[in-house]
Amino acid sequence: MTADLILFFGLAAVAIGAALGMLLSKNAVYSALFLILNFATVAVFFLLLGAPFIAMAQVAVYAGAIMVLFLFVIMLLGAEQLLTSHKSGWQRPIAILLTLVLLVESIYLIFGRGRLLSQVAPVASDYASPEAIGELLFSRYLLPFEVTSILLLVAMVGVIVLIKKPKANN
């Protein structure tokens, strides 16, 4: 087992553990923290896969903005834990069963047909440099890029409209 594999399996264990922690934590803040940990490890995976730009964007946007927003909302609402606990009993076992089936199917699809995707030759040094990504973003993906910016604007306006308290009627 090489150092790469050790690193990979270690990080993978952390990622899966963090995901499970997110899933099982009673407290939403802990869930959020676990998720941040998970995102951080995924960012490291991105770095290992030669995507530094995406890795940094992952940390800045997911960890830095989105999860802060989550924490903010949790704390604002004081919604760390749910008060009542009425369960629908049959949902949980079926869900776990279906998830296991999905996992088996996925693993079968990935490994079961003898098509192990191994990594090919190391890529060029300027692979996924900011220049390369910017070049692609502003040429072939210009329209999606602009559409995304419109989407963000729409989301912003929508959020403001949603959150604004209705004016008190006299």
């Binding site: 940390v59 802060v68 927003l69 704390m75």
Partner: protein, 336 residues
């Protein structure tokens, strides 16, 4: 593997030097602040411990180490302990991409003064800056104290708001230098510092930077008068000193970044001939920037919270967007 080992040793040595420099810097920044504040307020300041009071930081440190550690009964204990650590770590690692000099020749190896030079350095700065908010938020939340909670929430809102302007201020040097690598940005300032090309971006950056490190007049999260010191109300002893440390190290780090982006970094006269002058120049620039911060703290009153948010969203953000736009248009039109 031989070279890899050498590289590993080099990194360890450089990291140790960096951490040591930051720790010392933190200690003496507090001293610097107290003396400068005293000077501005026509007082004397600490001058008894050691010559000119130089040992005062050591005395303070000793005092904090021996203080009793208190943890509130209803606190979320794990997060309560985690929070100060989370505050310090970003302040330490953010300096990893900032170069503090050119390359020097040592033991037959070319050694770059600077931990690493990556092509997404600015993104790295942004992402590390964005996660530094966690320490404060979690500290506020885990203390189970209303004041602390308010401080944490205010802090997160404030940092998210000013991060946008900060990011847009980052864009201007990227545009001017055509690279995200800090080394290349410094190279691009070989002739004229960017602060002369882009005084507005520099101003925006400095203001946003003050807000990011929660310095006066944006020290809302720890507002002593209204929030009884905000998020670290419940902290004492070494955990409190970690917050303290984080704040001052962040001050040093952002000053270094400011110097790198707008003041030519480690560049100065004769630095090409004598590379060891680089760290000295950087130190001088950081020193000046810190002095400015302390001066501002001594001069300006704290902003009201709603005004602070309004200023961030309604003045600083449009201004920086406009600045980026105008800069980009000028670059395209004049083909700079």
């Amino acid at each position: 593997m031989q070279i890899e080992t050498a590289l590993l040793i080099e990194w360890v040595v450089k990291s140790t030097i960096l951490i040591f420099a930051l720790l010392t810097g933190f200690a003496y920044t507090t001293f610097y602040e107290r003396r400068l504040l005293a000077l501005i307020q026509v007082r004397i300041g600490p001058n008894r411990t050691g010559p000119f009071g130089f040992l005062q930081p050591a005395a303070d440190g000793l005092k904090l180490i021996f203080k009793e550690e208190l943890i509130p009964a209803n606190a979320y204990k794990f997060v309560f302990i985690l929070a100060p650590i989370l505050t310090v770590i970003p302040a330490l690692i953010i300096m990893a991409v900032v170069p503090w000099g050119g390359a020097i020749e040592l033991f037959g190896r070319q050694i770059a003064l600077g931990l690493t030079d990556i092509n997404v350095a600015i993104l790295y700065l942004l992402s590390v800056a964005s996660i530094s908010v966690y320490g404060i938020v979690l500290a506020g939340w885990s203390s189970d104290n209303k004041y602390a909670m308010m401080g944490g929430l205010r802090s997160s809102a404030q940092m998210l708001s000013y991060e946008l302007s900060l990011g847009l201020a980052f864009v201007v040097p990227i545009l001017l230098a055509g690279s995200m690598s800090l080394n290349q940005i410094i190279e691009a300032q070989r002739g004229v510092w960017f602060i002369f090309y882009q005084p507005i971006a520099a101003l925006v950056f400095y203001i946003a930077m003050l807000a990011e490190v929660n310095r006066a007049p944006f020290d809302m999260p720890e507002a002593e008068q209204e929030l009884t010191a905000g998020y670290h109300t419940e902290y004492s002893g070494m955990k409190f000193s970690l917050f303290f440390m984080g704040e001052y190290m962040k001050m040093i780090a952002v000053s270094a970044i400011f110097a790198t982006l707008f003041l030519g970094g480690y560049r100065g006269p004769f630095v090409d001939t004598y590379p060891l002058l680089g760290p000295l120049y950087l130190f001088l620039k950081v020193f000046l920037s810190l002095g400015l911060m302390i001066w501002i703290r001594a001069t300006l009153p704290r902003l009201r919270y709603d005004r602070l948010m309004a200023f961030g969203w309604k003045i600083l953000l449009p201004l920086s967007i406009l600045n980026v736009f105008v800069t980009a248009v000028i670059i395209v039109v004049f083909g700079l």
